[in-house]
């Protein structure tokens, strides 16, 4: 029977069309715009052509407009440099907290049992909350006047620590200042970034925990038995056996979370507005401001986006290669 070569193309065709329209075309268009002076305030001729003629956009490129100015401008733009810095620290904090807390949750809930199963089901809920809503919730929960998190931090941390400080201050020559109960979390540059990362961790750590639960379940129980017979205690088993065996999964999870952290946007808009001052203006947030809110400079915003794409591509390639190697 003759093999019909067109059948696979017909089957894959609709998906290819969708991928081209929603991914490839926007990527190519943004690449083109990144070399242009494209001000959204002025109707660009090529944009009109794209929209009305449905011709091949690449044919209508006016190469005389092409330049690297947008890319050069990025590296002398203090606001963009600031957003790189903010994104770096946000990524470091949110990835570290998500992975560590996720791992701790996994170790606690990995055992079988009705309560553990229920906990595992409930773990998916924080991840299911929309990032924008997460930002609003955290903003109100951190409010110094009526926020529940602010109250919890005061009751569970600040007040007990202050009691200890008060006791210590009884000693001669000791005068330690008590912690403030009135920290305005979102008005402090460090705490605002930290709390932004915490809101991200709140959503991601449970999901990562579920990934670790799966990985822990795949480790042969005999390995733990052997360690116990050799006299290792629980802590030693965790450090010497569990962690090394989880290392590939930790690496994959870390890279996946890094990619998502680098793209942080929604919570910045709803939780901090990029503030205080510029302390939580991530790259994506800044690009959005440049392109659609402040400068309306689509060319420059596209160039900044491509710089982010390059950074993300490095992690994506590492991630994919790691996943493929693991398979």
């Amino acid at each position: 029977m003759r093999k019909k070569r067109w059948v696979p193309w017909v089957l894959v065709g609709p998906a290819l069309v969708v991928v081209f329209a929603t991914t490839i075309y926007p990527l190519l268009a943004a690449l083109y715009y990144s070399f242009q002076k494209y001000d959204l305030r002025k109707p660009p001729q090529f944009a009109v052509q794209f929209a009305t003629e449905l011709g091949d956009p690449l044919v209508s490129i006016d190469w005389s407009l092409v330049s690297l100015n947008n890319y050069a401008r990025a590296f002398s733009d203090s606001r963009f440099i600031n957003s790189l810095n903010v994104t770096f620290w946000f990524t470091v904090i949110s990835v570290a907290l998500s992975v560590i807390i996720g791992l701790l949750i996994a170790v606690v809930v990995q055992k079988n049992g009705r309560l553990h199963s229920l906990t595992k089901i409930l773990l998916i809920f924080p991840f299911a909350v929309s990032p924008a809503l997460k930002g609003y919730s955290w903003r109100y929960m951190l409010n110094e006047e009526y926020g529940i998190y602010d109250l919890l931090i005061d009751v569970a941390i600040v007040r007990p620590v202050n009691v200890v400080i008060e006791l210590v201050n009884i000693l001669p020559f000791v005068d330690i200042a008590p912690l403030s109960e009135s920290i305005v979390w979102l008005a402090d540059k460090f705490w605002a970034l930290f709390m932004l990362a915490m809101s991200e961790t709140w959503g991601w750590a449970p999901l990562i925990a579920l990934m670790f639960v799966g990985a822990l379940g795949s480790i042969d129980e005999q390995i733990f038995e052997a360690a116990r017979i050799d006299g290792a205690n629980n802590l030693q088993i965790f450090w010497r056996v569990t962690l090394p065996l989880l290392r590939p999964v930790i690496l994959i999870v870390t890279m996946l979370k890094t990619i998502f952290s680098l793209k942080m946007f929604d919570q910045v808009v709803t939780m901090t507005g990029g503030g205080p001052v510029r302390a939580t203006q991530t790259i994506n947030y800044y690009i959005h401001q440049v392109g659609f809110v402040r400068n309306l400079d689509i060319g420059y915003a596209s160039a900044l986006s491509y710089i982010l794409v390059v950074i993300l591509t490095v992690f994506a390639v590492l991630y994919v290669s790691k996943v493929l190697n693991r398979d």
């Binding site: 959204l40 305030r41 002025k42 109707p43 944009a47 009109v48 929209a51 009305t52 409010n143 110094e144 006047e145 009135s182 305005v184 979390w185 979102l186 008005a187 402090d188 808009v269 709803t270 901090t272 507005g273 990029g274 503030g275 205080p276 001052v277 510029r278 959005h288 401001q289 659609f292 809110v293 402040r294 400068n295 309306l296």
Partner: protein, 451 residues
């Protein structure tokens, strides 16, 4: 008995005679001639799309939905409303305006954002002249905001907001204070509230970063003190001696402990919540928020709700930002004539009056823009005189610099105010100087100082 019978007969006669007049009056809003609409329905079957923000908010809902069916009945033109939340409206506005194939015909926009879409808006000068619209029925601030301080009318005033002082009459009475008319008096009243030992914050300000709301009251301080953002040559001057004094006064409310410490991160809504929930005695914000205080759940708030013009500068001017949402027609609209018909109806004094007198739940709003409606006795009676207070404020209201670069400058200013607010020891002069340098760079890059 005879008297009663005669009286009833007379009353019946009067009512009978009055009936035709009442019918005519009630039907005015259904008569195309009232609005200057073409009774022959030349655009029958045309559909218009109106990009509007926040349709759940009464000030927009009332204008968008009320009477839309009546307009359709008179003209055969149907209108649908693309409701976009405020948080994403600016971006949506720019994308739709710059899209040659946009489905939208009519857009409502914030004055400051309008400068970025002027090239996409149909000039309305001829329309205003032909339709006999009384341009002088709009205050100077609203006229400026609709024209971008040029000769071209890009939009007609649609929803407009003066800044009011929202305050608790019982608190001020308890401390024996008069309603503050200047910012300096606001500080004095605040100190009196602190001294009284009352468990309430004197004033609730908003210095946080959120759609640049922390600038609204700063402008009032700046303009009142006698300076501005730019001089006549577009050089930044907000960092001069007067600007520093104005900014010091603006920052003093939180620095002196009159406004809660958390207000350095608050937006306008959060600050207003403090008033509504009984934790603050005063708040300076847009007049559309008045209904929140009047409808507050706490009786001590709702029963003591009072309003006055936003304060001015002691010994200086009273000037505040008159914030406007003009409504315009996109140049790429395929239904320009039908859109103009709709504009006639939407911006007509009768439509505006009916909206502001409507007591339907969810549509009840105090917002009006025409001076004649603001001076209307019945309208004022329905809203406790709010429109009269608004008129007083609008008489001295101004608008912000309406140049395309201002959307780039605004974040610089908003971040500067935020930086000053979050650090009680911040050097205001130094921070304003840095901001002025940044602002100058934006203006220089745009060619404002060439030649």
């Amino acid at each position: 008995m005879v008297f009663t019978r005669k009286f009833l007969c007379l009353l019946t006669l009067v009512l009978f005679l009055a009936l035709p007049f009442a019918t005519v009056s009630a039907q005015d809003h259904m008569d195309p001639a009232t609005f200057g609409l073409d009774a022959s329905k030349p655009y029958d079957g045309t559909h218009l799309d109106f990009l509007i923000c926040c349709a759940a908010a009464p000030q927009f809902a009332s204008a968008a939905f009320k009477g839309a069916e009546e307009f359709t009945a008179m003209t055969g033109i149907s209108v649908s409303f693309g409701d976009v939340p405020f948080g994403s409206f600016q971006e949506q506005l720019y994308l739709e305006a710059s899209n040659p194939n946009t489905e939208y015909d009519i857009v409502a926009y914030v004055d400051a954002w309008g400068t970025n879409i002027y090239d996409y808006l149909h000039p309305l000068n001829d329309f205003v002249a032909d339709a006999g619209i009384d341009w002088d029925d709009y205050g100077p601030a609203y006229q400026s905001a609709s024209t971008g301080n040029s000769d071209t009318i890009y939009g007609l005033p649609f929803r407009g907001h003066p800044l009011l002082l929202h305050y608790r009459a019982d608190v001020l009475e308890a401390v024996g204070a008069d309603v503050p008319t200047t910012w300096q008096e606001l500080s004095e009243v605040s100190q009196a509230i602190v001294d009284s030992g009352m468990d309430i914050a004197p004033v609730s300000m908003y210095y946080g970063l959120n759609v640049d709301q922390n600038l609204f009251n700063w402008y009032s301080h700046l303009w009142g003190a006698g300076t501005d953002i730019f001089d006549e040559n577009w050089e930044p001057i907000f960092n001069n001696e007067i600007g520093v004094a104005a900014t010091e006064q603006y920052a003093s409310y939180v620095r002196d402990g009159y406004s809660p410490a958390a207000s350095v991160a608050w937006n306008e809504q959060e600050a207003n919540q403090e008033l509504i929930q009984g934790r603050a005695a005063m708040f300076i914000g847009w007049w559309w928020m008045a209904s929140r205080m009047l409808d507050a759940e706490l009786p001590e708030v709702s029963e003591n709700a009072a309003f006055a013009p936003a304060p001015g500068w002691a010994g200086g001017d009273i000037a505040s930002y008159g914030y406007l949402w003009p409504v315009g027609i996109l140049a790429q609209s395929d239904d320009l004539e039908a859109s103009l018909e709709y504009m006639k109806w939407l911006t007509h004094p009768l439509t505006e009056r009916r909206i502001v007198l409507d007591e339907t739940s969810g549509l009840n709003t105090n917002v009006a823009v025409r001076l004649s409606i603001l001076a209307d006795e019945e309208v004022n009676a329905a809203h406790g005189g709010l429109q009269g207070i608004a008129s007083e404020v609008l008489a001295n209201a101004r608008t912000i610099p309406l140049i395309p670069q201002y959307t780039e400058i605004v974040p610089i200013l908003a971040e500067t105010i935020n930086e000053i607010a979050i650090d009680a020891n911040a050097d205001i002069q130094a921070i304003l100087d840095l901001a002025a340098e940044d602002v100058r760079f934006v203006m220089e890059s745009a060619g404002y100082y060439d030649g």
